[in-house]
């Protein structure tokens, strides 16, 4: 789930590893998301938030965060806000438990 840049080059605290200006349009954000997907060689589906940050706000997800939804669209796991709360191991353990309790395959969206 690609959301607003956490450390844009035109922001308060620019990232050091990459320089990306805060996208001003959905098209710009999609271009940045494509670049990110390519740079990280990710094959999982990418979703892109709109310029009102609708999804990020609904999930209070800035700058990064992990959730798991079950097959009934209920929240099965809610990580704390990142970076401190961005705990992949913790999420994986929840996912394993959920999968063990269900026969349906998991889908990943980013």
């Amino acid at each position: 789930m690609y959301i607003r840049e956490a450390h844009p080059s035109d922001g308060w605290r620019p990232a050091q590893h990459v320089k990306i200006e805060d996208p001003k349009t959905l098209g710009e954000r999609e271009d940045v998301a494509k670049g990110c997907s390519g740079a990280l060689e990710l094959s999982m589906p990418f979703l892109v938030d709109d310029m009102r940050d609708t999804v990020a706000k609904a999930y209070n997800a800035k700058p990064d965060r992990l959730f798991i939804l079950d097959a009934q669209s209920k929240v099965a796991y809610r990580g704390d806000r990142g970076p401190r709360g961005f705990k992949v191991d913790e999420m994986v353990k929840s996912l394993e438990k959920l999968l063990a309790a269900s026969s349906k395959p998991a889908a990943e969206h980013e």
Binding site: M1, Y2, I3, E5, A6, P8, R13, P14, A15, V18, I20, E30, A33, K34, G35, C36, S37, P45, F46, L47, V48, D49, D50, T54, V55, A58, Y59, N60, A61, P63, D64, R65, L66, F67, I68, L69, D70, A71, S73, K74, V75, A76, Y77, R78, D80, R81, G82, P83, R84, G85, L95, L99, S102, K104, P105, A106, A107, E108, H109, E110
Partner: protein, 200 residues
Amino acid sequence: MRLLLIAALSLLLLPVGVLADEADEEGAAPPAPPPAGGGRRGGPRGGMLERLKQMDANGDGTITREEFRGPARFFDRLDADGDGELTTEEVERAASRGGRSGRAGGRSGGLTPGALDTDRDNKVSKAELDAWFEKADQNGDGFVDAAEWTAALSGRALRDPAPAVGASAPKVKAKRLGKDEHVDLGQVKRITVLIFGSHT
């Protein structure tokens, strides 16, 4: 009794003339009137210091419990190191905190010199300020954003509006990258991991 109650409440808010009222209530000779421009609440700190100086019966620069003319609980609030004596430094520190104890809380959220000075050396070090920042930066991203700032100053836990475990996923849509379609996250039919983030 009314005067005593008013004096007790005023002492919590940096009194200047209230200690004089206390002395009057207890029948002792009233101290000198406050400096020009002083008042019962919010007046110059010099007024409070003047009052205390006048209580220092033996002139040794400190006010003992016996010399203090006010409720015992207020003496305890001012006596930061708990040694049974009030020094000029303790009174000045209390004055900068508005007469309250050094504990963090209230509307200042611990962002006062008295509350930040955790080692009680009358100075706020960078380490002490960093410790406050670390606590206020609840998500650890190196910023205290507006919500964290408000939470820190109010002393309340940061409200998290994210859907709780067991709640229905918000009915929000997001565009699928590279495709002309949207996914309704409130209608997923498979176990779905949402990884929120950006390139930076």
